[in-house]
């Protein structure tokens, strides 16, 4: 410290060298450089710059409303009533919306959704979530005390990972995650300094999960870390596969044998399209396997208001149910969630409506069921359409989109294109997607952002644009791929 008070030396306190080094590894492909370029192009279009296309089609992010899907009327009516209770006197709102709103408001401090809620989430909402889970799982009981409302499913996922990440060096927590995976997992693992342990889904068998692959991955990981967690995304993102009941049982057995904490990301549980596919919740299967497993296997399952038929991403609503968690650990979890005070009350309220939707006989039921059915059947149609059209393109091969909101086709890239990409320092599928964006305005996410087997290339495309636009998109893609292949052969 200098005597005359002048700055002894210039230079920042916070530099790339002095900051938390874990931050350097954080990457989130869904919103990465390709999206930034897409936003830039949109600006240029607005400014009148001439392009070979008129609009950017953002088929990169699982955002249904952005693609024109309409919100469910019932949900929005109840939310308006909760926000501005004066509307309870307005006879334009059906009675069931008002009774839902009153119930929610009664459990909020000062009868306002502007009050803090308890950090675990509004009591009556957690009760309703538990009841929903119980109904969904054929009567298997669910304890509201095991339910934590979260700020989107991401919040819950990261919290559990934080709880489970411990150790140093060779005893550091290893987190098993599918390849391909939703990059929230890889980003969070990097941020927390945990060890990412990859297990490959089987592309030839429609992205199924092989226990032998889990075993291989676990064995290899044990050389350099302590694998403690096994993450499953079902239905899958980006792959869309819906795991069979047998597969889920096998995974549970594996987790039990190898002492792994199961994280079941089930945010797409209503998005199941393919014939013969059915959503089986991990909890249900676990409990149907008898007390040998149901009393021991530790499980956290996650749900959200962002996907399924609701598409309410902006609300940041979600929950997690924790099963068989050690009481001491659970106490720590409760404390951990209290640091961020509470999840957004509107998201909690919306979650309540999702698990407590209009029933037959209620005034809003007809409209509700019509809207819900229309959305889910449109998605099923688009899933099929996407698979069909993409498979007519030589060099593109697309597995059936069994569920979720995406296709993840495999693309054959000519040697020259791969070299051109490498020369630019880009992953080959990033190079492909960038060119696609520049020439057609279509924004996708390269497979490298999700992980894939070495030497294979993919992209993730949502099935969310309206059907007619989707058809155009797919045909443009077809054209582009053929041109690209020719150009670089």
């Amino acid at each position: 410290m200098s005597e005359n008070g002048a700055l002894p030396r210039l230079g920042k306190v916070l530099t790339v060298d002095t900051m938390n080094p874990n931050v350097k590894k954080v990457d989130y492909a869904v919103r990465g450089p390709i999206v930034q370029r897409a936003v830039q192009i949109e600006k240029e279009l607005k400014e009148g710059v001439k392009k070979p296309f008129e609009e950017v089609i953002k088929a990169n992010i699982g955002d249904a409303h952005a693609m024109g899907q309409q919100p469910i009327t019932f949900f929005r009516q109840v939310m308006a009533l909760c926000t501005y209770p004066q509307l309870l006197d307005d006879n334009k709102f059906p009675e069931d919306t008002k009774s839902r709103a009153r119930r929610i408001l009664q459990s909020c401090g000062g009868n306002s959704i502007g009050a803090y809620t308890t950090s675990q989430g509004i009591d009556c909402v957690r009760h309703d979530v538990a009841n929903y889970i119980q109904r969904r799982d054929g009567g298997i009981p669910s304890d509201p005390d095991n339910i934590y409302l979260t700020t989107g499913a991401s919040d819950g996922i990261v919290t559990i990972l934080k709880l489970l990440t411990a150790g140093e060096g060779r005893t550091r927590t290893g987190v098993m995650i599918s390849i391909p995976q939703y990059p929230l997992y890889s980003a969070s693992i990097a941020e927390l300094g945990a060890v990412q342990v990859n297990y490959y889904l089987n592309e030839e068998k429609c992205w199924s999960l092989d226990i032998s692959e889990l075993q291989r991955s676990l064995q290899a990981a044990r050389e350099h870390c302590i694998p403690r967690v096994l993450c499953i995304i079902n239905p899958g993102n980006p792959t869309g596969q819906v795991q069979s009941r047998q597969c889920i049982e096998d995974v549970i057995k594996f987790a039990a044998k190898e002492n792994l904490f199961l994280m079941a990301d089930e945010v797409y549980q209503d998005n199941v399209y393919a014939e013969g596919c059915e959503f089986h919740s991990f909890k249900k299967v676990l409990f149907e396997m008898g007390p040998e497993y149901s009393s021991k296997v530790e499980l956290a399952s996650f749900h959200s208001t962002s996907k399924c038929y609701m598409g309410e991403c902006g609300f940041r609503g979600g929950y997690m149910e924790v099963i068989n968690m050690d009481p001491e650990v659970k106490a720590q979890l409760t404390k951990l969630v209290s640091v961020r005070l509470c999840p957004p009350a509107p998201g909690q309220a919306l979650m309540d409506l999702v698990v407590n939707s209009p029933q037959p006989g209620e005034p809003s039921y007809q409209t509700f069921i019509k809207e819900r059915t229309a959305i889910l059947s449109a998605l099923a149609e688009k899933a099929k359409l996407t698979e069909e059209i993409l498979n007519t393109v030589p060099g593109i091969s697309c597995n059936p989109v069994q569920g979720a909101m995406y296709s993840f086709p495999c693309i054959a890239l000519p040697e020259r294109a791969i070299n051109a990409a490498k020369a630019k320092g880009q992953a080959p599928d990033m190079f492909y997607c960038m060119k696609l964006l520049e020439e057609t305005g279509i924004c996708l996410v390269p497979g490298s952002g999700f992980g894939q087997r070495e030497g294979t290339y993919h992209f993730r495309m949502t099935i969310l644009p309206p059907t007619d636009k989707l058809k155009i998109l797919l045909n443009k893609l077809k054209e582009f791929h053929q041109k690209f292949t020719q150009q670089y052969s």
Binding site: N20, R31, P71, R76, L164, A166, G314
Partner: protein, 477 residues
């Protein structure tokens, strides 16, 4: 036997507080009252949390009308909503993809709203420029603060990263620091002088801190929670100079900036003062300032809308900060909209202005009256004194316990002010927080009282406190 007991050491060593004990008892008592098992009072009076709505204050009409229209745009066809409400809702909806608040937004927040916030900051600071590129909207200011901590704290280093924090400071912040693995370096505020911040105290704390850790950041809460003090302009300059000399990153928690009372009181933002301190300091001292919709007369805690403005960050670090801020998809859209309304409220001439300004003013008046009443009541009580409330939602009165009371608490193995609060709750139903949760000088004791509540509730609370306190002081004299 679950091996999960071997969980993250960081999580396990978390700050243990009596939060559960007191709140849990309050909840139990509420149930007892409902079941008719209590006769000495008919409800728990909760002045424990800084929650305006929970305390009975109604939300601002304009805010709720705009939000309702955003939730359910069919209301835009309604005659019942004022024109300016409809216009604002329309503008905001047009900024959302697909015209729906259900869509994801940019991870740092909707561009138009960040612009609005930057303009608010510029107006507030008398013209000091503010760029939306340096503003990140998050799910509450607490979330933004935690992300900044994540950037600053190197939890794997053998030498812990240190953060200077005021004593007293609010409990969940301490929890956040411990969770991130930071070393806490406390600096004491001067209670006798109205909880002022003396740079000498900062210097002392830093010297001590340097012996055991690597201090990199200085956390300031201005206006203060729980103290209710506000820093003078001179004080802020001194702190900034200190941070410049000692190379500390300033974290300025300014969430109570719009809750300022008294004719001689004014809020100065750290950014404004920094900008007026000569080009060397103003272009180098790194600062993050936080604000939120939870405080102020909006009091929309549950909506989770907050932001951080970053000043003078190294451009390379800023890139990483951007990445960190963008891994959680986006902040809740409703919270973002509430921020827009906070930053750009109705103006004179707008149809909603009369109601809006009346509602805001009545909350301020109410708080001023409450603090006046508090001083009146305390002046008549032995063993309790309170620094004047300048800003914020709380007072932090000092309890002067007789030695007998201290002995009694020691025997019960509890902090005296915690024991005081438990008995206060038990005997009168009044729920306030003990000073031990916030930190205080050794052998000093406090309670934290929420004052942004209706006058009749405040009166009720003061009567209960008075009754209990007199009995308590008599019993232990």
């Amino acid at each position: 036997m679950s091996f999960m007991k071997d969980i993250s050491l960081l999580v396990k060593n978390n700050f243990l507080s009596g939060i559960d004990v007191l709140s849990r008892r309050a909840a139990q008592i509420t149930v007892e009252i409902q079941q008719g098992e209590r006769t000495n009072y008919n409800k728990v009076l909760d002045l424990s949390s800084g929650d305006l709505h929970r305390g009975g204050i109604k939300p601002i009409t304009f805010v709720r009308q705009v939000l309702a229209a955003c939730f359910y745009p069919a209301l835009l066809e309604d005659d019942s909503l004022p024109l300016d409400v409809k216009q604002r809702a329309k503008i905001l909806l047009s900024e959302c993809d697909g015209g729906s608040i259900g869509s994801y937004t940019d991870s740092s927040g909707i561009a138009k709203i960040k612009l609005c916030v930057s303009q608010y900051i510029t107006r507030r600071d008398g013209g000091v420029p503010s760029s939306p590129d340096n503003i990140f909207i998050k799910s509450g200011s607490q979330t933004a603060l935690m992300i900044m901590l994540k950037l600053l704290i190197r939890s794997k280093d053998s030498c812990q990263t240190g953060v200077l924090i005021p004593v007293p400071t609010y409990a969940s912040f301490t929890l956040a620091l411990e969770e991130q693995g930071a070393a806490i370096i406390p600096y004491h505020l001067c209670e006798e002088q109205g909880w002022t911040l003396h740079v000498e105290e900062l210097r002392k704390a830093l010297l001590t801190g340097r012996k055991t850790c690597n201090p990199v950041a200085l956390y300031i809460c201005n206006p203060g929670n729980p103290t209710g003090h506000i820093q003078s302009r001179k004080s802020i300059e001194e702190v900034i100079r200190f941070a410049a000399e000692e190379r500390l990153f300033i974290l300025a928690d300014e969430v109570y900036q719009s809750c300022v009372y008294g004719d001689d009181t004014e809020f100065y933002s750290y950014k404004k003062v920094l900008s007026e301190m000569g080009s060397t300091i103003s272009s180098t001292v790194e600062l993050a300032s936080f604000n939120s919709v939870s405080k102020g007369f909006m009091g929309e805690c549950g909506l989770r809308g907050g932001y951080v403005e970053l000043v003078n960050l190294d451009p390379a670090v800023r890139e990483y900060a951007q990445r960190l801020f963008s891994t959680r998809s986006c902040p809740p859209v409703i919270g973002q909209i509430a921020l827009d309304l906070m930053a750009d409220p109705p103006k004179p001439g707008d149809p909603s202005f009369p109601t809006f300004s009346e509602e805001a003013q009545s909350i301020k008046n109410m708080i001023c009256k409450n603090t006046g009443r508090i001083q009146e009541v305390f002046s008549e009580l032995p063993g309790i004194s309170c620094q004047p409330l300048k800003a914020g939602f709380f007072v932090f009165p000092c309890l002067h316990f007789p030695p007998k009371a201290i002995k009694w608490a020691k025997k019960r193995q509890m902090e005296p002010d915690m024991l005081y609060c438990l008995h206060l709750l038990e005997e009168t139903g009044l729920h306030v927080r003990p000073g031990c949760e916030y930190g205080q000088r050794k052998d000093s004791h406090h309670i934290r009282l929420f004052v942004a509540t209706q006058q009749d509730i405040m009166e009720d609370a003061l009567q209960r406190l008075k009754t209990f306190h007199m009995r308590f002081m008599k019993e232990f004299s």
